[in-house]
C-alpha cells in the first residue's frame, strides 16, 4: 500500500464486497467530504485462469473462460473461439453466427438491467432495484430455454454453437420480446424522467473524453464519454454486420450518461434479437474442427461492460501455448483515478458503480481516521449517507 500522509483520513473500501468479478480493495484518501486520492489493490479474485487454460485442451477452454465472469459468460468464450477460429481459419455456418448474436444480446439485456437495479439500490431507490430485477427474469428464462442454463451458458464451441434454437421456440421468443420491450420502455421512461435520479446522477463522476482515451476505457464507460467505439460495429463478428442497429454514444461523461447509454443499448439489443430471430438461416449450427495449426490469433467481442480481448498462441498441439484474456473491467476500473477524485464521499459509491463493477464495494465499507485508526463510518452508515442525500433532494424537488 502507498504511504499516506499522516493526518489524512483514509477510507478502505473492501476487500469484502461480493458480486464483482475483481474483488478490489480501494483506499480513498479524503479531505473532509472530498476524495483526494484513490488507491486500489486487487488479487482477491485471482484464480490463475491463464495458467489453468494452458493445461486444458482447446475445446475445454471455452467452459473455463465462461467462468471468468458469470455475467459475461457468453462474451469471453466468444472472444476465445474467435481467436482460435482465426488460427484454424474456420468458416462458420450462417446459423451459428445468428445464434451467437442472439445469446450475446440476451446477455447484454440481462446485464444492463442488473446494473440498473444495483445503481438504484446504491442511491437508495430500492423500487428501481426490485423492478429491474423482476423484469430481468423473463430474459433469463429465454436464455435457459435456448442454452439450458440461466447463467454460464456454455453454448460456444470452436466452429459453432452447442445448442441450436429450436423452431418451436421462435414464436414464443417473439411474443416474449414484445412483452420485455414494453416493460423496459416503461422502466426506462420512469428512470430517465425521475427528477431525483437526475439530481443524483447528473454531473457526478465525470470522466472526460481525454481521460477516457488516456485510460483506454471501453464499452458504456467510453461511450458515455463520447468515444463511440464498439467492437460489434468496428470489427464486426457473428452476424452484427447483417443487422440494422446503431452504436449508442453520448458526450457528457457523467454517471447519468453511462446509465442512458446502457438503457438505450437494452432497446437496441431487443431490436437486434428480433431481427436475428426473424432472419435466422436454416442449416447446421456447428462444423467439425479437427486440428489447430501453429499460429497466433486474437479475438474480440463486445461484452456488456466493454471489449473482451483474447490472444491465443498454438504450436500445433492440442493445448494453447499461451492464452491471454482481458476483461473490460481491467481497463475500466483504473479510470476511477480520473472520475472519483474531487467527488463527495456520498457520490463515490455510485461513481464506482457507474463502471459496472457490479455490487461495487459497498458491501463492506469503513471510514478509518488515520490518526486514531478509529472507524468513523461503516458500509451501512455510508449507504445511509447516500440515501439521506436522495431524501433531501426529493424533499426539495
Amino acid at each position: 500500500m502507498k504511504t499516506v500522509k499522516i493526518n489524512q483520513p483514509v477510507i478502505p473500501v473492501g476487500p469484502l464486497h461480493p458480486l464483482q468479478e475483481e474483488m478490489e480493495c480501494f483506499r480513498l484518501t479524503v479531505d473532509g467530504e472530498t476524495v483526494t486520492d484513490i488507491d486500489m489493490r486487487i488479487s482477491y479474485n485471482h484464480r490463475g485462469i491463464e495458467g489453468i487454460s494452458q493445461s486444458l485442451q482447446f475445446d475445454q477452454v471455452p467452459l473455463l473462460v465462461s467462468r471468468i465472469c458469470g455475467i459475461c459468460s457468453a462474451s469471453h468464450p466468444l472472444a476465445y473461439v474467435q481467436a482460435v477460429e482465426e488460427i484454424a481459419d474456420v468458416k462458420l455456418p450462417d446459423r451459428a453466427r445468428y445464434v451467437r448474436t442472439i445469446v450475446a444480446e440476451l446477455e447484454r439485456i440481462h446485464s444492463h438491467v442488473l446494473w440498473l437495479g444495483l445503481a438504484g439500490h446504491f442511491i437508495g431507490y430500492d423500487t428501481v432495484f426490485m423492478w429491474a430485477w423482476k423484469y430481468r427474469e423473463p430474459v433469463l428464462d429465454m436464455l435457459e430455454a435456448i442454452t439450458g442454463n440461466r447463467n454460464n451458458y456454455g453454448n460456444l464451441l470452436i466452429g459453432g454453437c452447442r445448442e441450436d434454437i429450436s423452431d418451436d421456440l421462435i414464436p414464443k421468443m417473439l411474443t416474449d420480446l414484445d412483452e420485455i420491450e414494453k416493460k423496459m420502455d416503461m422502466l426506462i421512461k420512469a428512470v430517465t424522467d425521475d427528477p431525483v435520479i437526475h439530481a443524483r446522477l447528473k454531473g457526478v463522476g465525470v470522466l472526460t473524453k481525454e481521460d477516457a482515451v488516456r485510460f483506454a476505457v471501453t464499452g458504456p464507460t467510453a461511450r458515455g464519454s463520447g468515444v463511440d467505439i464498439d467492437v460489434r460495429h468496428d470489427d464486426a463478428y457473428a452476424a452484427y454486420d447483417e443487422l440494422d442497429w446503431s452504436v449508442c454514444a453520448v458526450p457528457e461523461g457523467d454517471v447519468f450518461a453511462k446509465a442512458v447509454v446502457r438503457l438505450l443499448e437494452v432497446l437496441e439489443a431487443i431490436k437486434i434479437i428480433r431481427q436475428a430471430v426473424k432472419k435466422l438461416p436454416k442449416g447446421p449450427v456447428k462444423t467439425n474442427v479437427k486440428d489447430i495449426p501453429p499460429g497466433e490469433g486474437t479475438g474480440r467481442a463486445e461484452a456488456p461492460r466493454g471489449e473482451t480481448f483474447h490472444y491465443v498462441r498454438s504450436d500445433g498441439g492440442n493445448r494453447p501455448v499461451r492464452h491471454k484474456a482481458r476483461a473490460p473491467s481491467y481497463v475500466n476500473v483504473p479510470s476511477f483515478k480520473a472520475s472519483c477524485i474531487g467527488q463527495k464521499l456520498a457520490d463515490v459509491t455510485i461513481t464506482l458503480a457507474a463502471v459496472d463493477p457490479c455490487y461495487s464495494c459497498t458491501e463492506r465499507l469503513a471510514v478509518v481516521d488515520k490518526r486514531t485508526d478509529e472507524v468513523l463510518y461503516d458500509y451501512n452508515m455510508l449507504l445511509k449517507l447516500s440515501r439521506e442525500k436522495t431524501e433531501e433532494i426529493r424533499r426539495h424537488a
Binding site: 479474485n45 485462469i49 467462468r67 458500509y379
Partner: protein, 143 residues
C-alpha cells in the same frame, strides 16, 4: 433441543462472502432476494456485517488472498452459525482445481479454525435460486 440451535433456525440472517467466485453464484444469491424468489418471506435477510449474521453464504473456491479474509469473517460470526458453500467452486474448487492461486475449498479453510463447523453444500454451476432456497430449508430442518 438446544435453545441456541432453535433460535438459529428461526429467520436466519445471512452474510455473503465472495472468496473468488465468478459472480454467477452471487447474482443468483441476490436473485433470491428479488420479487420472483423473495426469500425474505422465510425471514432470511442479507446483512452488511458478519457480526449480525446467523449464516455465511460462501461462494468461490477461496484464492490465496481471500483465505485469510474468510477465516477472519468466520471468527467474527457469532456461534453457532451455519456455513453455506454455494456452487461447485465453494464445494470442491470446481473447474479451478489446478489453479496455482487456489487454496480452498471452503470446508478445508473453515475446518482449519473450527473442526466442528456446520457446513452445508449447495452444488451447481451456478445453483439455481430454487436450489439455494431448497438447500437452506433442508439444512435448517436437519439441525
Amino acid at each position: 433441543m438446544d435453545w441456541r440451535i432453535w433460535s438459529l433456525k428461526k429467520s436466519p440472517w445471512v452474510f455473503h462472502v465472495n472468496t473468488g467466485a465468478c459472480n454467477n453464484c452471487d447474482i443468483e444469491v441476490v436473485d433470491c432476494l428479488t420479487p420472483r424468489f423473495d426469500i425474505e418471506r422465510f425471514g432470511m435477510k442479507l446483512v452488511g456485517s458478519p457480526r449480525h449474521a446467523d449464516a455465511l453464504l460462501v461462494t468461490g473456491g477461496v484464492t490465496a488472498q481471500a483465505a485469510h479474509r474468510l477465516r477472519e469473517v468466520y471468527r467474527q460470526t457469532p456461534k453457532p452459525c451455519v456455513v453455506f458453500a454455494i456452487g461447485a467452486c465453494a464445494c470442491d474448487k470446481g473447474i479451478f482445481t489446478t489453479g496455482y492461486h487456489m487454496v480452498g475449498p471452503v470446508d478445508k479453510i473453515i475446518r482449519e479454525i473450527d473442526p466442528d463447523a456446520i457446513i452445508v453444500y449447495v452444488p451447481g454451476c451456478p445453483p439455481k435460486p430454487e436450489a439455494i432456497i431448497s438447500g437452506a430449508i433442508k439444512a435448517l430442518s436437519a439441525l
